[in-house]
Amino acid sequence: MFMKYFIFELKDIMARSWLPVLLCGLTPVFLLVLTWIYMTSAHVMDWHIGGEMTMGAVCFAVSVFFFLFFPIYTYGKITDRKLGSQYLMLPVSSSLKFASAVMISVVVIPLIFILLVLGSDALMAFLFPERVTTTQVELLCNSFWGSEDPNSMIFRLHILSPIFLPFMVSSAGLCGAVLFKRRKATKTFITSVISFIAVCLLYSLISKEYKNCGYTPDFLGSGFVWTWLIFQTVAALCCLAYVFYRIRKTEL
């Protein structure tokens, strides 16, 4: 029954959302075109798009927005009287609906998106090697098999982002989709930003306390990356637990 419902929902979502997924996945193409137009109009002949500082940063930003807003676009209907009734009244258990929603918005669609981004980036580098000097795939490979420091920002962005980012951000997006009734995207974004700032402030306060004692524990020092990932994983799981609760208990 899960496969039947999952395939049904995936087909429905892809039919409605293939264009936004495709457009966001082709970010490297749009970036190249926009840069080309700008540089040509500025009469700059010798230019290229760099690796992590330009393409990587833009792809990262687009990814965050995509992972946050796509679940809202897809599952925001749950709180709508017309579409939500149809969703809730479908003779499928709440557990299956939840599992399917998580699989689609946290795993499948992000995977398709990442493959599109990496694929279009590699294609641009192949077609225009003088303009795209380093691809995101190359940066990932260097990070995996190279000599990068596991605690460096670059390592975090390139290794951990494709794995943990969709899980964390999509879970927050899914939570926002079922939590808020109106202006879901705006409220989810603002809540996420405020939560992030609050956690950063908390980290600063705790670090300061430990520094005053002249001691920095591992989880705040060299092991901070993993502390941060564990914290985000727990937060994501809490978001998903709330989503499950809302699918079961929503009243329209």
Partner: protein, 275 residues
């Protein structure tokens, strides 16, 4: 069977349903009538499981609707007054969604669409409201569920479609199906609803079969005005008057006149039909 026991529901401080108790038997087409805001839609959404009761209970064949178990949902269909525009053809919609109701009949769906003179190859988000409504009515009837809850199904339908709807309800539903249709356009559903439930603010004014109503009330279509009439109204053909059927004469029920008579004499009607 649907058993409603001391049901209460409120939106914040506004109490909509209070201490409602009734039993809806299998195989009947119930008409749920009432003024705007008395809780018809609320009752339907409670019965299908979209809302949870605040007090009391609802039991439908041993299920609590709010739990939304698949086995319960597969045996019922809720047609809302506002229907969603979906970006697919009616035919594709029926084929995709219908497979979740184990008794869904795609042939019946196409037959009903033909009865309603609706083209299943049209995209639903390009249909007019009336066409969309007819698509969903066709789908609802094709699910062949035991329970069918319809909220204002004739809203948005043109006059010929209303007649087609009446025919479809009587011809395309099985004898053991229980249908609950809420409406405030009583003329649209005259002759097909039996029993009739009339809701008032936080109360049930009437819950009786057509036979019981005919037994206790007389509907007089003559032009002679009777002073003891509970309700009277001039119509193009004469008068319609409702009064107590002390002589046990037979008459044809006029649902609109019944509704007005019930509202004009709430306590009398309640005591007359008390079970």
């Amino acid at each position: 069977m649907i058993k409603i026991n001391n049901l209460g529901f409120n939106y914040g401080e506004k109490v909509v349903l209070n201490n409602i108790t009734m039993t809806l038997k299998d195989g009947r087409i119930y008409g749920l009538l009432g003024e705007n805001g008395v809780g018809k839609t609320t009752l339907l959404t409670l019965l299908c499981g979209l809302k949870n009761v605040k007090t009391g209970s609802i039991d439908i064949d041993g299920y609590n609707p709010y739990k939304r178990l698949p086995s319960f949902l597969a045996n019922q269909f809720y047609l809302s007054d506002e229907v969603a525009e979906v970006n697919m053809t009616a035919s594709d919609y029926a084929a995709s969604y219908g497979k979740f109701w184990h008794k869904f009949d795609i042939g019946k769906f196409h037959e009903l669409m033909s009865v309603f003179e609706n083209d299943p190859s049209w995209k639903m988000n390009r249909m007019s409201f009336g066409q969309l409504k007819k698509t969903y009515i066709s789908f609802a009837l094709s699910c062949n569920t035991k329970y069918l809850f319809m909220d204002e199904p004739t809203n948005g339908l043109d006059i010929p479609s209303k007649a087609q709807f009446r025919k479809a309800i009587t011809r395309y539903t099985s004898e053991d199906s229980t249908i609950l249709i809420s409406t405030h356009q009583v003329r649209d559903l005259e002759n097909i609803i039996d029993p009739i439930i009339i809701l008032d603010k936080q109360d049930v004014l009437l819950d009786a079969t057509v036979e019981e109503i005919s037994d206790k009330l007389f509907f007089d279509y003559s032009s002679e005005r009777k002073p003891e009439a509970l309700y009277s109204e001039m119509t193009p053909g004469g008068n319609i008057q409702v009064y107590l059927n002390s002589e046990k004469k037979e008459s044809k029920i006029n649902t609109e006149a019944l509704f007005n008579a019930v509202h004009a004499h709430k306590d009398l009607i309640k005591s007359l039909f008390r079970k």
